[in-house]
Amino acid sequence: MKWKQLIRNKPLAIGGGLIVLLLALMVTSLFYTPYGPNDMNTAMRLAPPQADYWWGTDNFGRDIFSRIMEGTQTAFLIGFSSVAIGLFFGLIIGAVAGYAGGWVDEILMRIIDAKLAFPGILLAIMLVTVFGPGLGNTIIALGVMSIPAFSRIARSGFIQYKEFTFVKAAVARGAGPLRIIFRHILPNMTSPLIVAASLRFSGSILAEAGLSYLGLGVQPPDPSWGRMLSEAQPFIINAPWYVLITGAVITAMVLGFNLLGDGLRDAYDKQG
């Protein structure tokens, strides 16, 4: 019954399907890829898709499919870690601001405002320039980029739920602030946070692609779709499949998480 409802929710079904597919690809890539992702076959450079190379090869003669598979790991790593960072700090800032209110709120929100004044990609560019490009720093930069989104949601959630009578009731029964925050308010905020996390996930994937284009993203030898896409760019006329396939995979993941987020929102809306 519940399953049927979820499937009827089309965005959720399509988005979830895409994500599951990509997850499966990632899990497989941990054990098996058709070719070594870095194995070069200089005799087969920029080969179009064919039986041996499903999605063709790149300019070093590496198997694009294997590299895309390998790249799922980085993509999920970037997505999950940056969202985790954003969620963790965003939640703390938002919770403190929302729960404490008053001047604490005022100060924290000023800082968030100031951070929002830097367009996300600019902030990421600044951080990556300072700390240097690379997987770890990209994740940190994208994580920092996500903090405001989460802290705003957390803050408004806390402000809203603080006034809810069930919270007041818990206070009347002697519950302390920690219990109120962790047992009463947070469980009620999971839905909007999950939705936001899903949307930020795709935001991080897109931002990584942008950073890669500017040469500031994940660096070799870590495989990255963003870098693959910008590396494929020069071959747009000679080997269009390289660009199209890489672009399509990024789009698929972003689309997947966007749809998932939308679908979850719909599902929660209906429930609430």
Binding site: K115, A117, I125, V130, A209, G210, L259
Partner: protein
């Protein structure tokens, strides 16, 4: 009155924080700006001279304070790379970035709002579904990729628009428009998608509101209910989104200007990072951030125009 003063104060404090963040970030930038300017085989004489003119021989704290002081006085210093006042350089580049941002904002609203209304009115029907799917795609495509596809299709294949460059409005408005159209479009696509989705959702939400029922019970025609009653109420949440979009648009212009070789701030920013042109970088980042802050301020004010509940509080 009090509201405005309060708003201005928060605006001021945000700007101050922004400047501090900007400064701190660029102070920890690794690398010797002088050497980057002059290159690997720099002449030691030139290097020493440049270091001195850049003030790199002074302690950081001292540079801090003097930058703050000068900036407050409107003196942004000299670009290390271009040997010209930063203010002049920024003033040259700003119109390009602002033009692109405004055009893309225009495109976003001109396309996003009608399409959003269309989808909401035809919710569940095939064309609306296709459009929704299209907007989802628009949101999921990396912007530089989209830019290349646009160049490939509209410039290389059809030759409708130039592949690069910028023609000032004062020189030739038509060519100026042409030169800015593709970049603006590339920049606007995600925004259009966001506006469509947002407008659709709020419209559908509003449709369920009590006052809509009242409007219908008055015997108003559906069109009037939609345009006179629902749309205005839906604009408030859309306004928030547009406010946020402007920041994204300015951020996105960094990438898009690079692709289209537009002489705007975004383009200059990337070059300046490479050359560690600190005075220029700091000023540009500060500019962009202040623009965003000011736009949010304007959005706040617009809220008050649209929504009497905020304007006439108590």
């Amino acid at each position: 009155m009090r509201f405005y003063i309060r708003k201005l104060l928060t605006l001021g404090s945000t700007v101050l924080l922004v400047s501090v963040i900007t400064f701190l970030v660029f102070q920890v930038l690794p690398g010797d700006p002088a050497e980057i300017v002059l290159g690997v085989d720099a002449d030691p004489h030139q290097l020493a001279e440049l270091r001195q003119t850049m003030g790199l021989d002074r302690p950081a704290a001292e540079r801090y304070l003097s930058w703050m002081k000068d900036t407050a006085a409107g003196d942004f210093g000299q670009s290390l790379r271009y040997h010209r006042p930063v203010a002049d350089i920024v003033a040259e580049r700003l119109p390009v970035t602002v033009s692109v941002a405004l055009m893309s904002l225009g495109l976003t609203l001109l396309l996003g709002v009608p399409l959003g209304i269309y989808i909401a009115r035809n919710d569940g029907k095939l064309p609306a579904l296709l459009l929704s799917a299209f907007t989802q795609l628009g949101l999921a495509v990396p912007s530089f990729w989209l830019a290349f596809i646009l160049i490939l299709v509209f410039s290389v294949t059809f030759r409708w628009f130039p592949t690069y460059g910028y023609v000032p409005w004062s020189e030739n408005p038509v060519r100026a428009f042409q030169s800015l159209f593709l970049p603006s479009l590339a920049l606007a696509v995600p925004g259009i998608a966001v506006v469509i989705r947002y407008l659709r959702n709020t419209l559908l939400d509003q449709l369920r509101m009590d006052y809509v029922r009242t409007a219908r019970s008055k015997g108003l025609r559906e069109k009037i209910v939609l345009y006179r009653h629902i749309l205005r109420n839906s604009l408030i949440p859309v306004l928030t989104i547009v406010g946020l979009l402007i920041a994204d648009t300015l951020g996105g212009s960094i990438v898009v200007e690079n692709v289209f070789a537009l002489p705007g701030l975004g383009n200059l920013l990337i070059t300046s990072i490479g050359t560690r042109d600190l005075p220029l970088l700091q000023t540009m980042v500060l500019y962009i951030a202040v623009i965003v802050v000011c736009i949010n301020f304007v959005v706040d004010m617009l809220y008050r125009v649209i929504d009497p509940r905020i304007r006439l509080k108590r």
